[in-house]
C-alpha cells in the first residue's frame, strides 16, 4: 500500500448541489501511466482536477475526502494549493499557451513567476523541457516567437514542456490529444511512454485504443462512480464488471 505516490480516499466532488464524484478510492503507483476512461460527464476530468485542487477554482464547486500526496493530505486546511500544484503538473484538452508570451517565456513561465530570474538557468530549463517534450528540434529557432504562432500539435507539446519545466513528480493530462490530428497524437503518446521513466502520469482519454496503447492501469468511471480499476491488459480483455465490458465494446457511451 505504501507504494503509491498519490492516492484518493473517499473523494467526492460537487458543482453546486450536483454531485459529480461519489466516494472515489484510487491510487497511483510511481512511474506508471494510469488512464481514466468513461463516457462524457462521468466525472473523470473532475476527478483529476481534484488531484491538484483546480476543481475548487470553479465558482460553486467543492470537494470532500482525502488526496494523499507523498504521505500528506492535500485537502488539509493548512495546505497551500499553490505549493501542491507545483508538484502536480497539468496539461489541458485545448492547447493553451499563454498569449503574447514567446515560446521560451511560455516554457519558463512557472519558474519565472516563482522568482527564478537567472538567464542561464532559464535557458537550460527551456532546452531540457523542450527536448523532453520532443519539440526542441522544431522550435529551437523560434524561441522568441509567440507561443501561439505554433501549430496545434506543437502548441500542445509546448504546454507539456511548460508543465515539465517545474519538474513535477506527477503529470495530469486531461484529454491532451482530443483536439489534435493523428500524427500529433502519436507523438504525444510516444512522449507519455518516455515520461513514465521519470514521473507518474494520469491521463484522461476518450480514446480506448489510446488507453490500451500507453497505460499500465486503467480506471473506468461512470456517472460519478469508479466502476473498475485494474491492469490495462486485463481490464480490456477480461473486465470484471458487466458495465465495463459494455462500455469497452461500444454498447453505450
Amino acid at each position: 500500500m505504501s507504494n503509491s505516490i498519490l492516492k484518493a480516499e473517499d473523494l467526492s466532488a460537487w458543482f453546486g448541489s450536483t454531485q459529480a464524484l461519489r466516494n472515489i478510492d484510487l491510487e497511483f503507483t510511481p512511474n506508471s501511466v494510469t488512464a481514466l476512461i468513461g463516457p462524457s460527464g462521468c466525472g473523470k476530468s473532475t476527478f483529476i482536477r481534484c488531484l491538484n485542487r483546480l476543481h475548487e477554482e470553479v465558482p460553486g464547486a467543492r470537494a470532500q475526502g482525502k488526496v494523499i500526496l507523498q504521505g500528506r493530505n492535500i485537502y488539509d486546511l493548512t495546505v497551500d494549493p499553490v505549493l501542491i500544484r507545483r508538484k502536480i503538473g497539468m496539461v489541458f484538452q485545448k492547447p493553451n499557451p499563454f498569449p503574447s508570451l514567446s515560446v521560451m517565456e511560455n516554457v519558463v513561465a512557472g519558474l519565472k513567476l516563482a522568482g527564478i530570474r537567472r538567464k542561464s538557468i532559464l535557458m537550460e530549463v527551456t532546452e531540457r523541457s523542450l527536448k523532453q517534450a520532443a519539440l526542441w528540434d522544431e522550435v529551437k529557432d523560434k524561441l522568441y516567437q509567440p507561443g501561439t504562432s505554433l501549430s496545434g500539435g506543437q502548441q500542445q507539446r509546448l504546454c507539456i514542456a511548460r508543465a515539465l519545466a517545474v519538474e513535477p513528480p506527477i503529470l495530469l493530462m486531461d484529454e491532451p490529444t482530443s483536439a489534435l490530428d493523428p500524427i500529433s497524437t502519436a507523438k504525444i503518446e510516444e512522449l507519455v511512454i518516455q515520461l513514465k521513466k521519470s514521473m507518474t502520469v494520469v491521463i484522461v482519454t476518450h480514446n480506448m485504443q489510446q488507453a490500451a496503447r500507453i497505460s499500465d492501469k486503467t480506471a473506468f468511471f461512470l456517472l460519478g462512480d469508479l466502476i473498475e480499476f485494474g491492469e490495462t491488459s486485463s481490464l480490456f480483455t477480461v473486465p470484471r464488471e458487466k458495465r465495463t465490458e459494455q462500455y469497452i465494446t461500444g454498447k453505450f457511451g
Binding site: 465558482p59 493553451n96 503574447s100 512557472g110 513567476l113
Partner: protein
Amino acid sequence: MSILRKQIGDFTRLRYKRRKALSLWMTFVLGLAAVAASASLLAVFSYVVLRGAPELTLSFFMNLPKPVGEPGGGMLNAFVGSLLMVLLASAIGIPWGIATGMYLSEYGRGRFAFCVRFCAEMLSSVPSIVIGLFVYVLIVKPMQRFSGIAGAFALTLIMVPLIARNTEELLKLVPQHIREAGLALGVPRWKVTLWIVLRGSLSGVMTGVILGIARISGETAPLLFTALNNRFLSLAPDQPMASLPVQIYTYAISPFEDWNRQAWSGAFVLILFVFVLNIMTRAIFKPGLGRVRD
C-alpha cells in the same frame, strides 16, 4: 404549360425585378449615410485646418496671452495647464481604472460586482458638466478656490469608468483555461491575473488607456468650474489652471477678432493631438495582436 403557371411565372419575374431595384436603392441609401457621416468629420477637420493652421506660429506655443487689445500672444499657459492636468488625471485614473477592470473581470462575483459595473456604466454616461458640478461641490467649495487639482480630479472621474469597462471586456476575452493553466503551474492567482491575463491583453488595454487620454484632453465642461482658467503661466496645482479647451471656449466667445483667430489655432492643435493619439494607438497596438484563439 397552363395559363395559370405562366401567370405565376410572370408574377415572380416582376417581383424579382422589383426586389432587385429596391435592393439597389437601399444599398445606395446606406452608402449615402456612410458618406455623410465620414464627410462631416472631414468637413470639421478641414474647416478647423483652414481657419487654424495659417495663424499657427511658433510664438503661439511659446507666448502667454497678451492683454486685451494688444495683438499677438499665444496659449503657452493653456498648453502647460492641459498637459499638467491630463498627466495628473492619467497618473491617478489609469491605475485606478485598470484595477477596477481587473476586479470586475477576475474577482467580482455576485451583487457587489453587478453594482460596481452598473455604476461604472452610469458614470461613463453622466454628462461631463454634471461631473464638473460634482467636483465643484466636493473640492472647489471646501478649498474656496478653483484649482488644477479639482480640474484633474474631474477628468479622472471621466477617465476611470472608460478604462475600467474596456479593461474588463478585454480581460474577459481571455479564456478560462488560460487562467487554469497558470494556476496549475503553481502560480498564485494574483500573479496569474497580472502576468498572464493582463499581460496577454496589454495591447487592447493600452488602446483603451490612450483613447481615454484623448477623450479627457478635449473635455471642456468639467473644467469650466473646477480649474477655471488662468491668464498666467501657473504650475501650482492648488491654483486656477488654464487648459486648452477652456481657453478655446473663452477666446471663441469673446468679441475680439484676434482672440477668435487664436481660438481656431487652439482648436487645430487640439484636434491634431487627438488625431495623432488615435492613429498612434492603431499603429502601435494592432487589433487582434493579443487575442487568444479560443
